[in-house]
Amino acid sequence: MAMTDEEILSGLGEIIDEVAGVPADQVTPDKNFVDDLDIDSLSMVEIAVAAQDKFGVEIPDDQLKNLKTVQDVVDYVRGEGVSVLSAAGPAPADGTQLRLPAPWRSQVSEPALPPPRRHLTKGAIHLAGRLSTHRCHWAGRYHALGR
C-alpha cells in the first residue's frame, strides 16, 4: 500500500519538528528549507537520515542538494515508491526516552566553573603565536635534516 502525499508530508513534518524545532503545522509543501524554514545543510542531512528510517528511502547527498522545498522531498520520497511495509533497517525504538538534558531547549544551570583567564581574542592570538613558533621550530629542524 503506497503512502499518500499527505502521509509523507505528515511524516516529514514530524521529522522537521524533531530535527529543527519547526512546528509540524508550519511544514507546508511550498516552504523553502533555507529561506522559509531556516534549515541549514547539516540539518538537511539529519532530515535525510531520519527520512531513511521513517520511509525506507535513502536520499544520497547528490540528490539531497537538489531538494529545495518540502514538496521536492515529498515528490522524491513518493517517486522512490515507498510503502508502509518497506521501511528498511532496524526499527527505531519508539518512545525511547533519552536521558539528555537538551541544553538547547531549556535553561541549563552550569556548574561553578572558574572564569576564563583571558578573553579568547588574546588567547587565540597567544595560541596562534605559540602555534607558529612551534611549527617554525619543527619545520626548521625538519629542513635541517635535509628532507
Binding site: Q97, E110, P114, P116, L120, R135
Partner: protein, 321 residues
C-alpha cells in the same frame, strides 16, 4: 615454544579524568568567528569546553588523568606493567608519550606505547589491554586517552573551532577476581579507509579539516550495528544496558545513534556539553564524570562506542566495578 596464559577475564579497576582549567564559552568563540551560542548549543550541544594552557602538553594531561585512575584503583605504580596512551595529537612521535608518562607516574620499566585510532583510540586501547591481561602479556595496564586538539585547530574556522577541545581520561585494567565474570567484553572494531579524506590533517603544519555532513551521515547510519554487535558478542541484551557512552563527537550524532539501540533504560552520556569533543579522551572522561556523579555504579553494564578519523570504530561492553 611456550605461551603464557593470563586471567580468564579482564576488568576496569578504576577510571580517572582530567580537564584543563581554562573554560571557553560559546560567547567567547562568537567574539572571533561567525557563530553564536544558540546555534552551537542546538547544532552541536556544547555549552563550554576546556582548552589546555599553551605550555600544557598531552603528556601533562595524561599524567594527571592516569595518576587519578591509579590512585582510585588502590594499586601502586609498581603494580603497572604496561602503559598505553591513545592519542592523535602527541607533541612528538619520537619519543612516544607513554614512556614519559610512565616515568612521571613512578612506573618503572613497564611496557609503553602510543596508539593512534583517533576518536576510537580509547576503545581500541581498552580492547588491547583486556587481551594482554587475558593472554598473560601484562597484569595491570594503565590505559589513557589524552588529546590537545586545540593545537591542531584553525581558530578562525567556525566549523571546527567550536567543536574540538582538550582533556584526558584513564582506566586501570587488571584481571578479574577468581570466579568472577569478565568485566570487559569482546571488541567489535573496524575501519574504512575509503573515507580517509573525511577527517584529516594534510601535514604536520596544517589544521584539522572534516566534512561534517558526510561524517554526520556515516556515524548516524553505519555505527549502531557495530554497537549492537558488541552487545551480542558480550551476551548482553541492549535493553539491560545501564548506560551508553559513545565518543562525544556531537550531541545530535549521539542522539542519532542512541535512538537506534533499543536501549530505552540506558543513560546516554552527554559529557560533550561541558567538555567539547576531546577525541580519544572523550569516552574515559565521560565515564570518570558519570562515576563521580553516581550516575553509573558497580555492576552496571555500559556500552562504549568510539568512532572517528580513519575512519575507524570500535565498541565493547564493560561492567563497572
Amino acid at each position: 615454544m611456550k605461551v603464557t596464559h593470563g586471567a580468564p577475564g579482564a576488568r576496569v579497576l578504576a577510571f580517572g579524568g582530567y580537564q584543563p582549567a581554562r573554560v571557553v564559552t560559546n560567547d567567547d568563540l562568537a567574539a572571533t568567528v561567525d557563530t553564536n551560542d544558540e546555534w552551537i548549543r542546538s547544532r552541536v550541544g556544547i555549552v563550554t569546553r576546556r582548552i589546555a594552557a599553551p605550555d600544557e602538553t598531552v603528556a601533562d594531561m595524561a599524567v594527571n588523568a592516569g595518576g587519578k585512575a591509579l590512585a582510585a584503583s588502590g594499586l601502586s605504580a609498581s603494580d603497572i606493567d604496561l602503559v598505553i596512551v591513545a592519542t592523535c595529537t602527541p607533541e612528538s612521535t619520537i619519543p612516544n608519550t607513554a614512556a614519559t608518562v610512565a616515568t612521571r607516574l613512578g612506573i618503572v620499566a613497564s611496557g609503553a606505547f602510543d596508539m593512534n585510532a583517533a576518536c576510537a583510540g580509547f576503545c581500541y586501547a581498552l580492547a588491547a589491554a583486556s587481551d594482554f591481561v587475558r593472554a598473560g602479556s601484562s597484569h595491570h595496564v594503565l590505559v589513557i586517552g589524552a588529546e590537545k586538539l586545540s593545537q591542531w585547530v584553525d581558530w578562525t574556522d567556525r566549523s571546527t573551532c567550536i567543536i574540538f577541545a582538550d582533556g584526558a581520561g584513564a582506566a586501570v585494567v587488571g584481571p578479574v577476581e577468581d570466579g568472577s565474570p569478565a568485566g570487559i567484553g569482546p571488541v567489535v572494531w573496524g575501519s574504512d579507509g575509503t573515507m580517509a579524506d573525511k577527517i584529516y590533517i594534510t601535514d604536520r603544519n596544517s589544521f584539522i579539516h572534516q566534512e561534517g555532513q558526510t561524517v554526520f551521515r556515516w556515524s548516524t547510519t553505519a555505527l549502531h550495528p557495530v554497537a549492537l554487535a558488541a552487545c551480542e558478542r558480550a551476551g548482553v541484551d541492549p535493553a539491560s544496558l545501564a548506560a551508553f557512552v559513545p565518543h562525544q563527537a556531537n550531541l545530535r550524532i549521539i542522539e542519532g545513534i542512541a535512538r537506534k539501540l533499543g536501549a530505552p533504560q540506558a543513560r546516554v552520556a552527554d559529557d560533550i556539553v561541558y567538555s567539547g569533543n576531546t577525541s580519544s579522551a572523550s569516552i574515559p572522561l565521560a565515564l570518570s564524570h558519570m562515576i563521580e556523579r553516581g550516575e553509573i555504579g558497580a555492576g552496571d553494564s555500559v556500552l562504549l562506542l568510539g568512532f572517528g578519523a580513519g575512519v575507524s570504530y570500535a565498541a565493547q561492553v564493560i561492567t563497572v566495578t
